[in-house]
Amino acid sequence: MLTYIIRRLMLVPFLLFGVTILIFGMLQFLDPVERASLYVRGDPKANQIDAAITKYCLDCPIHIQYFNWLIGHVDSTTGVREGGILFGDFGWSKTGSQPVADLIARRFPNTLDLTLWAVGPVILVGIWLGVQAAVHHNGIIDQAARVFSIVGTSFPSFVFGLLMLMFFYANLGWFPPGRLTDDFNRVVGSDQFIRYTTLLTIDSLLNGRIDIFLDALRHMVMPILTLSYISWATFLRVTRSSMLETLRQEYVTTARAKGLSEHDVIHKHAKPNAMLPVVTLAGFTVVGLMGGVIITETVFDYPGIGSAAAQASAQLDVITVLGFALFNGLILIVANLVVDILYAMVDPRVRLS
């Protein structure tokens, strides 16, 4: 186990290096003047840009630039560090009129909140559907599930989302897009509302505002339904095939032969083993949700990091977009590591191979 973890850990610095090189490479499509806005705060004044170019050596050889980009520049007199993505300074976002890191810090809790509430419906229901399809192999549920999984993979989330908006918002007026009703937005912005965790649903409960909590949930219903819908097809397919495979194993026959009830055979004997590939899928799904779901957040105007990245790139604000990509890359590398290690703990075959 230890060797597996060490081997897996050794991959991390390499991936980090690769991703920074990738993003730095994309940055090279900008000329030095544009790259200077990595460091110039707000609207650039007369010679600020030229000053930044000399200070950060933006026309130097590429490896020096890369190094400067990573660690920034320490002012020799004041000792203040400026720039340097390793220290969390991703530059200035023109479209957001604030540092990219602040923009991420403000948007990320919303994405996390959505992830928190979407995990249950997305994963648990998806798995349940897959188990049902496998247990009733070739039955009505299985056929319906098969059709659903083909339709689900062909029906893109933005078309589905727009249709949801058409029914539940334009026609019925049940679930609005956005994050909160305007009145509550004012309450949340005021001083009385204490941000304990920055997650809106949890904070509203801690502040004793059930009405805000319910309103926040109401705004998340459509994104959660859309996310569920797009992930169910995958969960269904993986769970179903893994479950079918397991049900064919001899130990399941043994369990049946010794007279266990069908419920025990399926849920106590077959399901735990069939869940192994599903566990990885679930892990990656959660990671994907945390990285921001670009299309779903955009369609429903949900202020998470996915929609922020989409807005920035639609307005060609490259510095902001690359900041988001870097952040996303960091989350993914760390989270994938966690998923892999957890998986190796659950399934000994992985770490021994």
Binding site: L15, S154, I294, A309, A314
Partner: protein, 347 residues
């Protein structure tokens, strides 16, 4: 030496069994394994309906100039506008300004002398019908170009990686790892945003991004297949008679390993078109008013509160996109069953 030893038992039956299996020319050309894949693709109702859908869209793409005549034949991918008002107009609204030529089938089918907005107009009076019809061509164009390029790149990298092995293999596969860290939509999104100011708004930035972040899957698959093919005796024989590396790789190894990758790639057109439409929907890549399904769908984003009235903005391009992708997915599903080793011998 020439004497053939016959198995004991009922030779007549054995002879009959052998004679029954005729080998068609196609099978001889493709080889038994690949022939089985092709055969499987034409068997199930799902794959046949997939083929039907794709065929239907090919017809629309070919007939686009007849179905929706362009106002400006030099720039047919620009959706014609009927004025500049922002309020969308309903289906069947009359075309007031600068209508395109009326095609020959139009009067016979509708009995109408005037060209109308068959699917209504979107914000800015863009004709939705035109966008849906010419969007089919955009879909095939982008899908084919991206798939062919990713395939070429993937096969090349995968083949070199598997054939030479060692350090080269290690380096190439680590590059693959790095490129796969970011989710594909995020990756294409940022690269397209970086490239758009450099090459301008067109289909190019998104296509290039889809290619750059799209080939890794093929490289991995072909690498695995080549690793097994390169151990075969005929490769050794080719080497023994003194062939160059490049000749062995391109004449002997790749042709024998490429077929499953080839089929998989051709079915990935659906996914590529979906990604392209998604980026277009987000406002990345092509200009406003380019005939592309995602672009037409994006027009609905400013009219979300009144989508009950303007449902046609999302329904028509939505149906086109869904059916197009479903055609390829139905085929892909059939293919997965055929390629699954556990299914071998059951088709």
């Amino acid at each position: 030496m020439t004497q053939v030893t016959t198995p004991s038992g009922n030779n007549e039956l054995l002879g009959a069994a052998v004679a029954m299996r005729k080998i068609s020319r196609l099978e001889r050309f493709l080889g038994p394994e690949n022939y089985r894949i092709v055969q499987g693709l034409f068997k199930t109702p799902a794959s046949i309906s997939g083929f039907t859908l794709i065929f239907f869209f090919i017809l629309i793409a070919i007939a686009a100039p007849v179905l929706a005549p362009p106002v400006n034949p030099n720039d047919p991918y620009k959706i014609p506008r009927d004025g500049f008002k922002s309020q969308p107009r309903e289906m069947g609204a009359e075309w007031t300004k600068n209508p395109p030529e009326i095609p020959f089938w139009y009067k016979a089918v509708t009995g109408n002398d005037e060209w109308v907005h068959l699917f209504g107009t979107a914000q800015g009076q863009y004709d939705i019908y035109y966008g849906v019809i010419w969007g089919t061509r955009t879909a095939f164009k982008t899908g084919l170009i991206v798939v062919l390029s990713t395939l070429l790149l993937g096969v090349l990298v995968g083949a070199v990686s598997a054939y030479y092995g060692g350090l080269i293999d290690n380096i190439l596969m680590r590059i693959v790892d790095v490129l796969m860290v970011l989710p594909s939509l995020m990756a294409t999104l940022i690269l397209a945003a970086v490239l758009t100011p450099v090459i301008g708004r067109s289909t190019l930035p998104v296509m290039i991004s889809l290619i750059v972040f799209g080939w890794m899957g093929y490289a991995r698959i072909i690498r695995g297949d080549i690793l097994s093919v390169k151990e075969r005796d005929y490769v050794l024989a080719a080497r023994v008679i003194g062939n160059k590396d490049s000749r062995i790789l391109f004449r002997h190894i790749i042709p024998n390993a490429v077929f499953p990758t080839l089929v998989l790639a051709s079915l990935a057109i659906g996914d590529v078109v979906l990604s392209f439409a998604a980026l277009s929907f987000l406002g990345i890549g092509v200009d406003v008013g380019y005939a592309d399904w995602g672009q037409v769908l994006a027009f609905a984003r400013n009219w979300i509160t009144s989508l009950d009235t303007y449902w046609f903005i999302i329904v028509w391009p939505g149906i086109a996109l869904v059916l197009y992708v479903m055609g390829f997915n139905l085929l892909g599903d059939a293919l997965r069953d055929v390629l699954d080793p556990r299914m071998r011998g059951k088709v």
